[in-house]
C-alpha cells in the first residue's frame, strides 16, 4: 500500500477532500448541462426553420464552438473578458459560461438531427388522420424525437463531466487540484503518493461516467429495436 502511495488516500480527511473536489467538477458540469439542454432544444428547433439567415447564424455559432478546443474557449472567456470587458470572472463562473455555450451548440445539433430524422410519411399520416399542427407535434413527432434524443443527451452529460477536468487549467480547485495538494502535503512521508492519488482520481472519473454511459448505451439499444 505504502509503496504505491495509497496510504495517503485514507489519511485524515483526504478521501473526503478528494470527493469534494470531484463534487466541484460535477457541480459545474451539471449546471452547464441543465442550462444547455433547454437552450439547445430551442436552438435546435430554430435550426429546422426555413429562415435562411437564422439558420446561417445558428450554423456559424455551432461550427465556431465546435472547431475550437474547449481549452481555448476557456482561455478566451477567462482571460479575454477581463481584458475586453473589465470583468473579473472567477474560474467556476467562466467554466459554466463556456460549457453552457458549448453544450448548447452540441445539444442544438442533436435536436436538429433528431427532428430531421423523423420520416416525412409520419407528418403525412398525421395530417391524413386530421390532426392539427400542434397535435401532430405533440402526439406524433415529439415523442419519437425525444426517444431518439434521450440517449444522446445522456451521452452529452458524460462528455461534459470529462470536459470539466479542464477547469484545473484556469485555477479552479477541483479533484485533480485537490489530488495535487494532497500529494504535495505528503511529499515527505509518502513520496509515491502521485501514483495512488492520480489512479484514484482516474477511477473516480470512471465511476462517475461509466454508469451514465451504460445507461445511454442501453437506451440507445432499446431505441433501435
Amino acid at each position: 500500500m505504502q509503496a504505491l502511495g495509497l496510504d495517503v488516500l485514507f489519511k485524515g480527511k483526504n478521501f473526503l477532500r478528494l470527493l469534494g473536489g470531484l463534487g466541484v467538477a460535477l457541480k459545474i458540469s451539471l449546471i452547464s448541462v441543465a442550462l444547455s439542454i433547454p437552450l439547445g432544444i430551442l436552438l435546435g428547433i430554430l435550426m429546422t426553420r426555413r429562415n435562411r439567415v437564422l439558420r446561417a447564424i445558428l450554423r456559424l455559432y455551432l461550427e465556431a464552438l465546435r472547431i475550437m478546443p474547449q481549452m481555448v474557449l476557456l482561455f478566451l472567456v477567462f482571460f479575454g473578458t477581463t481584458r475586453a470587458l473589465g470583468w473579473d470572472l472567477d474560474g467556476e463562473t467562466a467554466s459554466v459560461i463556456v460549457f453552457t455555450l458549448w453544450g448548447t451548440a452540441e445539444m442544438s445539433d442533436l435536436v436538429r438531427g433528431a427532428l430531421i430524422s423523423i420520416p416525412k410519411h409520419q407528418y403525412e399520416s398525421a395530417e391524413a388522420l386530421g390532426l392539427s399542427k400542434a397535435q401532430m407535434h405533440l402526439y406524433i413527432i415529439l415523442p419519437q424525437a425525444i426517444r431518439r434524443l434521450v440517449p444522446l443527451s445522456i451521452n452529452l452529460i458524460t462528455r461534459m463531466i470529462k470536459t470539466t477536468s479542464l477547469v484545473l487549467m484556469i485555477g479552479v480547485v477541483e479533484v485533480i487540484k485537490v489530488a495535487q495538494q494532497i500529494i504535495e502535503a505528503n511529499r515527505m512521508v509518502s513520496p509515491n503518493g502521485a501514483f495512488g492519488m492520480y489512479l484514484t482520481v482516474f477511477l473516480l472519473y470512471f465511476i462517475a461516467c461509466f454508469p451514465i454511459s451504460l445507461l445511454a448505451g442501453k437506451l440507445e439499444k432499446s431505441f433501435r429495436e
Binding site: 479542464l166 492520480y198 482520481v201 482516474f202 470512471f206
Partner: protein, 219 residues
C-alpha cells in the same frame, strides 16, 4: 492590438503549433492502429483478449485525457515507468484515441448485414477472403464519418498537453499572458493558430465524407 507584439510572438506560436501537429499526427496514427487491433479482436470474438479490449475501451472512454496524462506523467514514474513529456503526450492521446477509433471501426463492421458474409461464403470464399474483399471495404467506408470526427476530436484534445509541460499553443499563450499581460494578442494568435490547424482538417474531412457518400455503395 499591437502589430509589433504580434510579429514578435509569431515565431513562438509557429514553433508551438509544429509541436502540436507532430505529436497530434503521431497520436492519431497510433490510435488508428490501436483501434483496428481492438476492432479486429472484437469482430473475431477472441476470448480473453475480447474482455481486455472491452475493459480498456470503457476505461478510456469514461475518463478525461487530462487525468490520463497526469497518471502517465506523474503517477507511472513511481512504479518505475518514466516518460518524457512528448512520449507521454503521444501515449495519452493513443490511450484515448484507440478506443474512439475502435468504436468507429466496430460500428462499421456491425453495420454490414450478415447476408454479405454468407453470400461470399456460399460462393466458396474463405472467411478471410470474405473479410478482405467483401466486409472490410464496406465497413471502412461506413466508418469514415466517425473516423473523421475522431481525428478532429483528437487534434483538439492535444490542447491539454501543456498540463505535462509540453510547450504547445496553450502553454505559449498562458506563458505570454502571465509574463507580459499582452492578453489580446496572445489570445488572438491562439485562436488563429488553432483555426489554421483545424479548419483544413475539418474541410478535408467533409469533402472525404461527401465523396464516400456519393461515390458510395449504399443500396
Amino acid at each position: 492590438m499591437n502589430a509589433a507584439v504580434l510579429q514578435e510572438y509569431l515565431p513562438l506560436y509557429g514553433k508551438a503549433a509544429l509541436l502540436t501537429i507532430r505529436l497530434g499526427i503521431l497520436g492519431v496514427l497510433l490510435s488508428i492502429l490501436t483501434g483496428l487491433f481492438c476492432a479486429a479482436v472484437q469482430y473475431l470474438k477472441i476470448p480473453l483478449l475480447k474482455t481486455i479490449v472491452r475493459v480498456y475501451i470503457e476505461l478510456s472512454r469514461n475518463t478525461p485525457l487530462l487525468i490520463q496524462l497526469f497518471f502517465i506523467y506523474y503517477g507511472l514514474p513511481k512504479i518505475g515507468i518514466r516518460t518524457d513529456p512528448a512520449v507521454c503526450g503521444v501515449a495519452g492521446l493513443t490511450f484515448l484515441g484507440g478506443s474512439y477509433m475502435a468504436e468507429a471501426f466496430r460500428s462499421g463492421l456491425e453495420s454490414i448485414p450478415p447476408i454479405q458474409e454468407e453470400s461470399a461464403l456460399s460462393l466458396g470464399m474463405t472467411r478471410i477472403q470474405a473479410a478482405v474483399h467483401v466486409i472490410l471495404p464496406q465497413a471502412l467506408s461506413v466508418s469514415v464519418p466517425a473516423f473523421v470526427a475522431n481525428v478532429i476530436f483528437l487534434l483538439k484534445e492535444t490542447s491539454v498537453f501543456s498540463a505535462v509541460s509540453l510547450m504547445d499553443l496553450m502553454f505559449t499563450a498562458k506563458d505570454l499572458i502571465g509574463l507580459y499581460y499582452d492578453t489580446t494578442e496572445a489570445l488572438f494568435l491562439l485562436v488563429v493558430f488553432y483555426l489554421l490547424m483545424l479548419l483544413p482538417v475539418s474541410i478535408l474531412g467533409s469533402i472525404i465524407e461527401k465523396k464516400v457518400r456519393y461515390a458510395g455503395f449504399g443500396t
